[in-house]
């Protein structure tokens, strides 16, 4: 298993780690027994994501995809954010090992869940 430098950078120095109190959107996907859980917190103003935090339990690839996808949706409109695919995330990381592609789905699903939560509250 060889990761790209970008994966290792986001894994070793994950961006936007943490929680937000009273988030406008909150999502939690995965399950501990499957080996991956992602929690994502969004601050949203006028459908624009103004702050984002995450916490992820999972492998380096799960953490790195979480990290980079928070960067990718920050300051984006929620409808844009909804279009983020796991493939785009993997590409932004200069690729993932084939066996690890599935981990990137976690971030996509997490973001979707948080935005749906926000939509539901609206």
């Amino acid at each position: 298993m060889q990761y790209s430098e970008k994966v290792m950078d986001h894994f070793m120095n994950p961006r936007n780690v943490g929680t937000i109190e009273n988030p406008d959107g909150y999502g939690k996907v995965g399950s501990p027994s499957c080996g991956d859980v992602m929690e994502i917190f969004l601050k949203i103003e006028n459908d624009i994501i103004t702050d984002v935090k995450f916490r992820t339990f999972g492998c380096a690839s799960a953490i790195a995809t979480s990290s980079i996808s928070t960067e990718m949706i920050l300051n984006k409109n929620v409808s844009e954010a909804l279009q983020l695919t796991n493939k785009a995330v993997a590409e932004a990381l200069d690729g993932l090992p084939p066996a690890k592609m599935h981990c990137s789905v976690l971030a996509e699903e997490g973001i979707k869940a948080a935005i749906e939560d926000y939509m539901g509250k609206k």
Binding site: G35, R55, A99
Partner: protein
Amino acid sequence: MRVYLDNNATTKMDKEALEAMLPYFSEIYGNASSMHSFGNESKKAMVEARKTIAEIFGIETDELIFTGSGSESDNLAIRGVAKAYKKRGNHIITSSVEHPAVRNTCRELEKEGYEVTYISVDENGVINLDELKKAIKKETILITVMHGNNEVGSIQPVEEIGKLAKENRIVFHVDAVQTVGKLNIKPKEMGIDLLTFSGHKFYGPKGIGGLFIKSGTRLGKVLTGGGQEKKLRPGTSDVPGMVGMATALEVAYRNIDEEFKREEELRNYFERELLNKVPEIQINAKGAKRLPGTSSITFKYLEGESILLSLNYKGIAVSSGSACSSDDLQASHVLLAMGIPVEIAHGTIRFSFGKYNTKEEVDYVIQELPPIIEKLRMISPLWNE
């Protein structure tokens, strides 16, 4: 600082063993089966290597064959007995914590019509003897149980299994890949009929293994070809490998008890310090008789690969029982068999100490590990929920 704590995976070759094997590449290179002097020199070295190993195990030289790896020895032992004793029965007993070389071979045999019973282990990774006893039936032809577990270090009560096997006239194979070179092993006194070992686990070369075959034990062939190794392992003899492995074994047994103690103390020191410094961890198989250098530690709320890679960043090499770093993304069958819940099993790291590890190295790990765990737990949604 670079610290290698993955000695259960493989080891750095011993200098004396390496030096002993070097002449056999391009100075004494004859084929040990050839009748001329070049061949005789090689044959002499092969005979000597076999003698060295046989003496250490207290067995006859014609009870030992060389193979290409521990995995191959396991295959030959298990498939060999299955084939040779087919008429007597089709039942095999093994444990639920075997290495894939044994486990997957048993699985294959199930597909071929053999019946396999996988005996459970307790929370320390030790086989349930009563269950094993009850599993024995008329059709049982083989019991195959490992000596030391590669993931958690638990040592199985092979002597007692050996007694049961003998009483019931069942062939007993022991995968001793993790114990040969670390523990005193006299297969015949322990009631063992077949014993697997592998050179690179005790500072010998890779690509060479061995199998003790108690005289009288029949084995079907797995590989066919020339007459080498009693026709059980055809192919030109790997004399350098044999010499390297025999020398490594000799070196290991020179001060085996002292080294056992030294590694055990180092490992215990490591575990004590870690328990002091890192909350919410669990030492696996702690209640069992264990391999001296093996420490399997579960860091709750974390996933093993992330710990492994973070330690690697600091130059520290360990392995993980984590699903995410395994080929099939399945959590370790050993940890699950011990009753460790799958979500915790994910956060398990194996530290395996060897003869080259020092207290300074352990101190370095003790210093680097706690902040890594802390940082990773900060990222984990399971921590402080």
